[in-house]
């Protein structure tokens, strides 16, 4: 017998962080929900504007709330499933404080407009490096714990944790590869179509391996604990695990239907997404069936109530996901609020409710109080939370459908029925109000939980008891329990091997060999990724070049960086799909070859405002400036934030030099511009400012940021209609 104690202090820490960041993330969500309903409440403050706060909301919800949530679960359950303390208490603390430091730096940089603009991968390179380092610390600590475990079989929850750790590391590193231009600015090494593919390979699998697999591990541990009975079918859980890992990794391109992504890649994404129905529902059934014969407990126990609703939402959103990946459905749903509703049924319904259930189960145990301070409050949280989700989700589904149908509506004369985009925006207002209310209810309910947990914490004993556990160590040498008797008469080497293969001894072996298991998961993930990614990068015909498409001028590049920093991509797409109503509304559809200099791509994923890919030349400079200064001067019903500061702040002309240099390094043919970017930018700014004055516009904007932004907007999507440059101009900036 060996004796040891579990480290519950680390679980307490992560749980406190989960609740704190949950409240913060939801609060920012509620703020931006109100901003869409009442744009004026941002008070024209840069750091409160929608484009900067939305990434803060998504990052806080995913990495701070859900992340700390499943870390709590992992630290608590891994020790118990392995019957050992964590490998290193020090590493546990480094992981905890490091992760919180990363969250704080995200909370500081994103509102300042320091961003890479890749959704859920917005953090700039110094923070990315910190994320990778802390993740390695976590991985070492986790694998170390597996190695020193006292339980031979690795329980299925641990498999899900392994898949999380390995895959997130691969995804995060490859999607974030970039070259720094300064301490706070870098450029993705991928451009256009390839960047889009990488980003959604990452984006979709972040959902899979950050918001799904660790939470399934949580389900497989905490649900049986709370229900007091083992999981319904352990066999089903094994099938659930492998099919999920194999299939999920392929599904990413369904985010890019009807875009400039090659057809075969998006079809592949669709087929694998539809196949995901299988494992997802297998998992849901396994979860719900665990409660067979225990449904009377559900009525009495709020923890189980949270879990049941969470698993139901898991089933619903993983039913909806494949549905949305079918191309025809996607042509209606993409860029609309439908996606937002889908995501929130997943995050609020599945992730948040799993976390809440876990918190209510853990709190009395971690604080050793035996019960929550108020079970009534827990009950209220459950009902208020559920109502909050329903208000949110139902209203935003309605908004998404309305939006999608209005965009594609034609009248009797064959013209767009709602040619003015803002009509489709103002129609959504009632839904936006209901959403804001629903979000607020959910936030208040979460605050009730925070209050309840604090009150329970105050009831804790003076010193925590730390029971000493005794379990025997694993025998050094493992003897397999006798496998099936051999049916072979003679002992041929090959025959023996074949027999071992068909008896699937190998899988039983992996189940107790953490390193081997991890390697196989990695291979499963890599096969899916590489077969999808390599062709996109290596097949030239996927991205036909267009001779007239030239690099951005230094000033336009600076303008593009402002577009990125202000988070315009959170409301605007730059991707006209080859659908009739889109070409009618926006013009010529977008071609892959038009994005070859877009480091990173700016296709966006939703249209709170209209697509901007063909906006170049659509309006005068003067219109653009006045619209940016205050959109409601031009369009009373616009919900776009005002950007008065862009008319005030000076553009850093000298700083453009290092950016152009990095672009050149990435292979953009900048020619002379590399050595005199600032002067070229000044010259173009002077021209634009003169044209602006000629249009009767402002007279004092020559050195301001707005000029760069206007230069960029006026360039957008115009190259395709220009003649190809003469041969000798090739290689130089236009």
């Amino acid at each position: 017998m060996e004796q040891f104690k579990y480290d519950d202090d680390i679980s307490r820490k992560f749980m406190a962080a989960t609740i704190l960041w949950g409240v913060v993330g939801m609060l920012v969500g509620v703020i931006i929900a109100f901003e869409l309903a009442f744009p004026k409440i941002s008070m024209d403050l840069p750091w409160l504007s929608f484009g900067r706060l939305r990434p803060l909301h998504t990052n806080a919800a995913i990495f701070a709330f859900a992340g700390n949530g499943f870390f709590t679960a992992i630290y608590y359950s891994t020790q118990r499933l392995c019957k050992t303390r964590m490998f290193s208490d020090k590493l546990s603390r480094v992981h905890f404080w490091g992760w919180q430091g990363i969250i704080v730096s995200a909370a500081l940089t994103l509102p300042l407009g320091i961003t890479q603009s890749k959704e859920y991968a917005e953090l700039e390179w110094p923070i990315d490096i910190a994320v990778v380092l802390i993740w390695v610390v976590f991985a070492v600590n986790f694998i170390g714990t597996l190695i020193k475990r006292r339980e031979r079989h690795m329980y299925v929850a641990l498999w899900f944790y392994i898949a999380t750790i390995v895959t997130i590391a691969i995804l995060y590193i490859f999607n974030n590869l970039s070259i720094p231009a300064s301490a706070t600015k870098s450029y993705s090494i991928y451009a256009g179509v390839q960047d889009a593919l990488m980003q959604w390979w990452y984006g979709h699998n972040a959902v899979a391996f950050f918001l799904t697999t660790p939470f399934l591990g949580m389900m497989y541990y905490f649900l049986p604990k709370a229900a007091g009975r083992p999981v319904y079918s352990y066999r089903l859980s094994i099938i659930h695990f492998w099919s999920l890992v194999f299939i999920y990794i392929w599904a990413g391109p369904h985010h890019l239907h009807y875009t400039a992504l090659p057809m075969w890649a998006s079809t592949l994404g669709m087929v694998f997404s539809v196949m995901l129905w299988m494992p997802s529902w297998g998992g849901m059934i396994n979860g719900l069936m665990t409660l067979r014969g225990a449904w009377h407990k559900v009525a009495a126990d709020p923890v189980l109530k949270f879990f049941v609703v969470a698993i139901t939402f898991y089933g619903m959103s993983t039913f909806e996901g494949p549905l949305l990946s079918i191309k025809t459905v996607n042509s209606l749903s993409h860029y609309t609020d439908w996606t937002i509703a889908h995501v929130h049924s997943g995050t609020l319904g599945w992730n948040a409710f799993m976390i809440f259930g876990m918190v209510y189960w853990l709190t009395p145990r971690l604080f050793q109080t035996g019960k929550m301070w108020s079970s009534k409050l827990t009950e209220i949280h459950f009902w208020a939370g559920t109502i909050g989700i329903l208000l949110y989700v139902i209203s935003i589904y309605a908004a998404g459908l309305t939006q999608g149908l209005m965009w594609r509506a034609f009248d009797q004369t064959g013209n767009l029925q709602y040619p003015d985009f803002v009509e489709t925006v103002s129609r959504l207002m009632p839904f936006y109000w209901v959403r804001a209310v629903g979000g607020t209810v959910f936030l208040v309910a979460t605050l009730l939980m925070a209050f309840n947990v604090i009150k329970t914490w105050m009831m804790r004993p003076k010193t925590y008891e730390e029971p000493v556990q005794s379990f025997p160590a694993l025998a050094k040498k493992y003897v397999d329990p006798k496998g099936p008797e051999s049916v072979l008469e003679t002992n041929v080497g090959f025959g023996r091997r074949l027999e071992a293969l068909t008896n699937v001894v190998w899988h039983r072996k992996w189940e107790r060999l953490p390193i081997k298991f991890t390697v196989w998961v990695t291979i499963a993930v890599l096969i899916g990724s590489l077969l999808e990614i390599i062709p996109t990068f290596l097949i030239k015909s996927n991205v036909p070049t267009i001779a007239s498409v030239q690099p951005y001028t230094p000033l336009e590049l600076a303008g593009r960086d402002i577009y990125i920093a202000e988070g315009c991509y959170n409301c605007h797409s730059q991707m006209v799909r080859p659908l009739f109503h889109e070409t009618e509304r926006y013009g010529e559809y977008s071609k892959p070859g038009e994005f070859v200099y877009d480091y990173p791509f700016q296709w966006g994923s939703r249209r709170i405002g209209p697509d901007l890919h063909r906006v170049g030349g659509k309006y005068s400079h003067d219109w653009q400036v006045r619209h940016m200064e205050n959109p409601r001067v031009i369009n009373l019903k616009s919900v776009m934030p005002a950007y008065p500061w862009l008319l005030d702040q000076d553009l850093d002309f000298e700083g453009i030099a290092s950016r152009v240099r990095v672009m050149a390094l990435l292979g953009v043919p900048y020619g002379d511009a590399v050595s005199n970017a600032p002067d070229m930018a000044r010259e173009q700014a002077r021209q634009i400012s003169e044209e602006l004055i000629a249009q009767g516009g402002y007279t004092d904007l020559e050195g301001k940021k707005i000029i760069a932004l206007v230069a960029y907007l006026q360039r957008l999507g115009t190259d395709i209609s220009k003649p190809a440059p003469a041969a000798d101009e090739n290689g130089g900036a236009p």
């Binding site: 066999r235 492998w242 075969w264 008896n503």
Partner: protein, 69 residues
């Protein structure tokens, strides 16, 4: 002939097809193991792991709060 020419000239549909074959093959093997080669007791024992994660040494402390009834 460069690598991209080589891959570019290959039939693109081969990638998803190869992937499907790999996936289905491995998946069938796992199904086979789980359905035919996993003993009832083995599955039951594994499923019980979370239920038996605390054995407190009698004379050191009072009973752990987390042993589930």
């Amino acid at each position: 002939m460069s690598l991209s020419d080589l891959i570019g000239n290959m039939d693109l549909a081969a990638y998803p097809k190869a992937a499907m074959v790999i996936f289905i093959g491995v998946f069938l093997l796992i199904l086979y193991r789980v359905i035919f080669k996993m003993k009832k007791e083995e599955a039951r024992d594994a499923a019980m792991i979370p239920m038996m994660d605390s054995v407190v040494t009698p004379n050191t402390q009072s009973a752990s709060k987390e042993t589930v009834a």
